[in-house]
């Protein structure tokens, strides 16, 4: 159950980014999973470089470095997407997001190679590993939820998601909100990569693809555009995978996860917490 929660918290953190970015610019940011991978590599390199300072300072500084680096990646992704045709129905932004994903993944492949690399900060192999990862994951989840639901910026971000034009007339700088949104949720994805790297002990250039896909699945499962739905969707998906994998074998986890997604969407097309929008005739 705890392993399912750990996995679920990773999915939930990535799903939150997918759903918030979709909610604000109506775009599936396919590069989001790769930002998670970048976070893992930046964290590993940073911790390795700073380790002569001692575990504590190296940990703090490498986490801060990971947050900053992935926030900058998110900012640059928005900078690029903002210059594309964003008219409804335009395929440019989504193709660009796929392109950015491929650039990041292949760039990581050429920089760091295809073989799995060891993450230098290895957590103790006992229960503390799960407890620490879970505590960090849940803390970030709760902080994210609070930031979106309770703060002035969170209100502005949700208002932007509802109506860009009306939001501008409230004096809110929509582009500023979008840049901050991309930067913050990319930093969260990077931090998740750091956590996953230290939890599993190894990282690889392709790690973002699989987790990005599961994060996107969790966002759809929870109800696309609904932040709490994404958090719930991630945790539920983690549970389902952990229980299903324990029952039928780990090779079945993807079959179980996606069968569960299809079953939920068949019974509840708007996802677990999504609201059904009634179209007026």
């Amino acid at each position: 159950m705890l392993i399912g929660l750990v996995l679920g918290s990773f999915y939930a953190l990535i799903a939150a980014g997918y759903t918030v970015i979709y909610g604000t610019v109506r775009l599936i940011n396919f590069a989001h999973g790769d930002v998670y991978m970048i976070g893992a590599f930046v964290g590993a390199l940073g911790f390795g470089f700073l380790s002569p300072l001692g575990v504590g300072p190296a940990l703090v500084m490498s986490v801060l470095g990971t947050l900053l680096a992935t926030a900058i990646v998110g900012f640059l992704i928005r900078l690029l997407l903002a210059r594309l045709d964003s008219a409804p129905g335009s395929f440019s932004p989504i193709i660009a997001a796929v392109g950015i994903s491929l650039v990041l993944e292949n760039g990581a492949f050429h920089l760091w190679g295809s073989a799995p690399a060891a993450f230098p900060l290895v957590m103790p192999a006992d229960g503390r590993k799960i407890a620490l990862t879970l505590a960090a994951g849940i803390a970030v989840l709760l902080a994210t939820d609070y930031w979106i639901a309770r703060t002035k910026f969170g209100i502005a971000m949700r208002a932007v998601g509802s109506d860009h034009g009306a939001t501008r007339l409230m004096g809110i700088r929509v582009e500023y909100v979008l840049y901050v949104t991309f930067a913050v949720f990319s930093a969260i994805a990077g931090l998740t990569g750091y956590l996953a790297g230290s939890y599993y002990g190894s990282i690889q250039f392709s790690m973002g693809f699989a987790l990005g896909l599961k994060g996107f699945t969790a966002a759809v499962l929870g109800g696309m555009g609904n932040v709490r739905g994404a958090l719930v969707g991630g945790l539920v998906l983690g549970f389902v995978e952990a229980f299903g994998g324990g029952w039928l074998g780990t090779e079945w986890t993807d079959v179980i996860a996606f069968s569960f997604l299809i079953a939920v969407l068949t019974l509840r097309p708007s996802g677990l917490l999504g609201e059904t929008v009634v179209q007026r005739m």
Partner: protein, 246 residues
């Protein structure tokens, strides 16, 4: 209630405003002003250019020529969020509340740009709700789940919470019954009296115009056809001709 002391700051002046859409003159050398402490009606047949004027004032359209001044400062060509931050707020003909937000968060979004603490924001929301007769028990409900008349008032609250200098109200009577229209007129009169701001009201219901407005500007094909008190414009032959197509 916030009372603006610098009345001149709440003065909206439009001079020889023009807006071309391709070869179509949506606004043609329109000039008028909205004074602090008055409700100015902006009326005219469909397609007269009323909402285009609002879109120019709020920065959504860039005028082809002419000037728009707020408290003496030229604002034409500025971006919408900048104009909003200077103190011009508006409501919409088709209500545009933020779908997924509660009443509280909808109104609070209106005050985002004013800075201040979370506590100050909540206090401002409470004050504007009291001013517009919105029950505090509504605050945690999804805004779009409210009855239409209440949604109109929430939209007004969202515009007023930032203590604007000029309020632009676009057809607030659309979809409302006679009692609700009367309430909106009373609220606009109260707001103008207590805040000493300028209110510009677009409305097709001439009864509402007569009840709410101190002066009226009549637009037709983008030009100002007449200006004056509601009584004066009602009896103006050119206005009558424009409305009945004579």
């Amino acid at each position: 209630m916030p009372v603006q002391t610098d009345r001149l700051a709440n003065h909206l002046e439009i001079r020889e405003l023009g807006l071309l859409f391709g070869g179509v003159r949506a606004i043609d050398n329109a000039s008028f002003e909205a004074l602090p402490g008055e409700v100015l009606g902006l009326i005219g047949p469909n397609g007269a250019g009323k909402t285009s004027v609002f879109n120019c004032i709020t920065g959504f359209y860039r005028p082809t020529h002419g000037t728009i001044r707020l408290g003496g400062r030229a604002i034409e060509g500025m971006r919408p969020h900048g104009i909003s931050r200077l103190g011009i707020r508006r409501t919409f003909q088709n209500i545009r509340l933020f779908n997924d937000l509660t009443v509280l968060h909808n109104i609070a979004a209106g005050a985002y740009a004013t800075g201040g603490s979370q506590a100050a924001l909540l206090e401002a929301v409470g004050q504007v709700c009291a001013e517009l007769g919105l029950d505090r028990q509504l605050l945690l409900q999804p805004a779009t789940s409210l009855a239409y008349g209440l949604q109109r008032r929430v939209e007004l609250a969202r515009a007023l919470v930032a203590d604007p200098r000029v309020l632009l109200v676009d057809e607030p009577g659309a979809g409302l019954n006679a009692q609700e229209k009367g309430l909106i007129c009373s609220l606009l009169r109260d707001v103008v009296r207590s805040r000493q701001i300028a209110v510009v009201l677009i409305e097709h219901d001439l009864g509402m115009i007569a009840r709410a407005c101190d002066r009226v500007v009549v637009l037709d094909h983008g030009t100002v056809l007449a200006q004056g008190t509601p009584q004066q414009v009602r009896n103006d032959p050119s206005v009558i001709a424009a409305y009945i197509g004579a």
